[in-house]
Subunit: 446 residues, 2 copies
């Protein structure tokens, strides 16, 4: 045979293949998320992977823009692969606003792409699961979002986790009040600095706050001290913060709402403060948040960072439509969570181990398919021997983890019988009647 | 308020959004395919959307290469979006061959992208579902593939359908024999011509065959006459073809295998010749096929073309590895099938219609969430009122198609009761005890 020119079988760096084990776990997680979301009245939608570049760019900051995969398509249009699901969703809502019943609750599951630095252990393609409630501003929707993420994470069996809930409105008011600055660049710098608190610590954040032009130096320390205060239950001490913001009625109302939302969601989820906690240090960087913001960490893997986050944004689709569409939502990073579960050894095997029908002689193939068909029709996962030697078929059944092997050959076909081997202990029964194959296999499986 | 600069909310041409109704139908179809594939021992895998361009290009002919979305990534690598799942799967198999148990049966579901001419009603992003058995050549695997597609299409409830099964080995032998040409360009032209038979008819195909340099003119007519012959059951008359290929023992063996494979698969699927038919005119264009080839048409929509197709290819991964990896597989064009079902009005609604909990007074929100939580925990899809006015909540419940509305306000909270309205007939019961909410709702739903 002529020797061929070969291409190296190589994936792009930062991209993953999913082998059956990992894929089965991923699919099972998606099924759980879909089930819980559907139970809570969220409806699944989908948007394309590619959008006009102008739709996606300028929405997530310069750093994000740099990571977007963009190119010119066959019609010389500037197009880009979505880097999150939120921006395409904004476009979707604006485009289909007349076909949606608001408040609209949606689940969207899909891959997103970012040309990130892979040295940080980040992938360039990863799956996001986003839940949003759009078209309503109010405590009920805030509670509903926190509750559904509580339910999903519990159902995903991730072990202990903490949903830390802050509020960007209150945080911004406090920043402006204590640093004595106006809304604008200084406030943004403060938010970015506070977002790094868990990573770089109080000292360094103080340094960053001090460097903000016009910021009151004494205010920075007071700000950090208030934000990291705790009441007896472990929540940020909202009483201290309310006292500081006395006279700012809008902020005081937001404080009441935050208290109410977290208390109601905690009661609904049956979660204590270790599961659902008010934490005003949650800043969520720049983003588009205007109300509650939340982040979720795993008790066993706090260093893993947030596996689910979100918040309230009151101007989702304002770039596309004049309609007022406030929303609240959040996202689960499915692949990050999958990695975390793997590290925690909490990943159960979801691979199906089929019953295996071995074919001793080729003339019995039709008869074998008859038994296979009966088993599958009864909802029993069943594989069939497709290689020549019976010994190799058994070896394959073993590799697949088949609990039972049904064997048929020419004589079984004549007598309409089969042999049944239990792989665990090697016991085998022969001359069982074909008419009872479903019953016999079902009994032997339990 | 300052008027904002707005961006038009526009999708790229040839790309679709999935609204809840369509998405629910799509998700339900995917679930059916996954369930049936899993029952048959196929394992789900996944590969990235992006690959090195060199991996994808030159595999589907010049026409396909032109349609591939390709660009340079942030590291100046030539990358491309996959245009099918087969080529990435070949790369996957070569790369992971030591981690897979052969024969390896896989299901892969994913979007693919082609910059096609949208004027033909084609989409540039569409979902493929591929099932393949790799690492084995033999009748059993051929039967298994035909059987699993029969099971899937039946389970998808597409109505009547015909799987037409040809064989590329026999077809090529017959072309060379009757046109008196060697393997090569002439044979390829003949395959392409025959592939158009259903579209352009006998006369025009004859013209194309006559135009092949060196082809025997009389042979073309004989070829077409043999391929379109029928036996009493409606299959291509393999007896006539065997007589023509007398002395070509390899082809005769392939004829026996084709007969055996189709008969066995038909028996396993309980399908008559109208459901599973030998049809040697099935050519599948150029492709990489070396044995059976099949196409599937809907009885109600023959003009819709093939909704599922595939065949045997005995050198899937030869471009990447020296290992011999024969395979057989096929694909369902999910979005095409979805369109067909829509046109046939066979698309059932899969949207969940939740029970709705209305909140008459805001103080009862926590109590409402308690009932909502109990219902959801019992597996009953439940939505909650999130807008202020009770009347608007009922309007929304109606739009969602909620069969029942549970209403709670301050007094219900005090007494731990609720009201229950059946939306169909407008009947309402009051003062029902909260402790019986799951039981009461469940009974009222049936």
């Amino acid at each position: 045979m002529q020797k061929k020119q070969r291409t190296q079988a190589a994936r792009l760096k930062g991209f993953r293949d999913y082998l059956p084990d990992a894929m089965a776990a991923r699919v099972a997680m998606i099924d759980v998320i879909r089930r819980e979301a559907t139970l809570a009245g969220f409806q699944v939608i989908g948007t394309p992977a590619l959008e006009y570049a102008v739709t996606l760019l300028g929405q997530g900051g310069d750093e994000t823009d740099k990571q977007v995969y963009r190119f010119k398509d066959h019609g010389d249009r500037e197009v880009a692969l979505r880097f999150d699901l939120t921006v395409p969703f904004a476009r979707f809502v604006a485009e289909h606003q007349n076909d949606l019943a608001f408040p609209f609750k949606k689940l969207q599951i899909g891959d997103v792409w970012r040309g990130e630095n892979t040295q940080k252990g980040r992938y360039r393609e990863f799956c996001q699961c986003d839940l949003d409630i759009i078209g309503v501003d109010g405590a009920a929707a805030d509670v509903e979002i926190l509750t559904v993420f509580q339910r999903i994470l519990s159902a995903l069996d991730v072990g202990g986790f903490t949903q830390a809930v802050g509020n960007r409105f209150i945080l911004s008011a406090l920043i402006r009040h204590l640093l004595r600055i106006e809304a604008g660049a200084g406030e943004a710098s403060a938010l970015i600095a506070l977002d790094k608190l868990a990573k770089i610590g109080t000292e360094q954040v103080l340094g960053l706050l001090h460097a903000i032009p016009g910021a009151d130096a004494g205010g920075s320390a007071a700000l950090l001290s208030l934000l990291t205060s705790h009441d007896s239950a472990g929540h940020t001490d909202l009483g201290l913060i309310a006292a500081e913001l006395k006279g700012d009625d809008v902020s005081l109302k937001e404080i009441d709402r935050l208290r109410f939302v977290v208390a109601t969601a905690a009661a609904a989820a049956g979660a204590g403060p270790e599961g659902l906690r008010i934490d005003l240090t949650v800043a969520r960087g720049l983003g588009y948040y205007t109300g509650i913001v939340f982040e979720t960490t795993l008790t066993q893997k706090p260093g893993f960072g947030s596996i689910s986050s979100g918040g309230r944004y009151n101007d989702l689709a304002g770039r596309f439509t004049s309609r007022d569409l406030p929303g609240v939502g959040g996202s689960i990073g499915l692949d990050r969570l999958l990695s975390a579960l793997e590290e925690m050894e909490r990943l159960k095997s979801h691979q199906v181990k089929p019953v295996f029908v071995a074919v001793a002689t080729e003339d019995a193939l039709g008869y074998a398919f008859e038994l296979v068909g009966a088993l599958r029709a009864a909802g029993i996962a069943t594989d069939i021997g497709m290689v020549a030697k019976l010994g190799n078929q058994f070896k394959h059944a073993d590799r697949l983890g088949a609990p039972l092997v049904v064997t048929v050959g020419g004589s079984e076909m004549q007598q309409r019988t089969f042999a049944l081997k239990t792989m665990k202990d090697g016991t085998e029964r022969r001359d069982l009647p074909a008419s009872g194959v479903v019953e016999m296999v079902r009994t032997s499986l339990t």
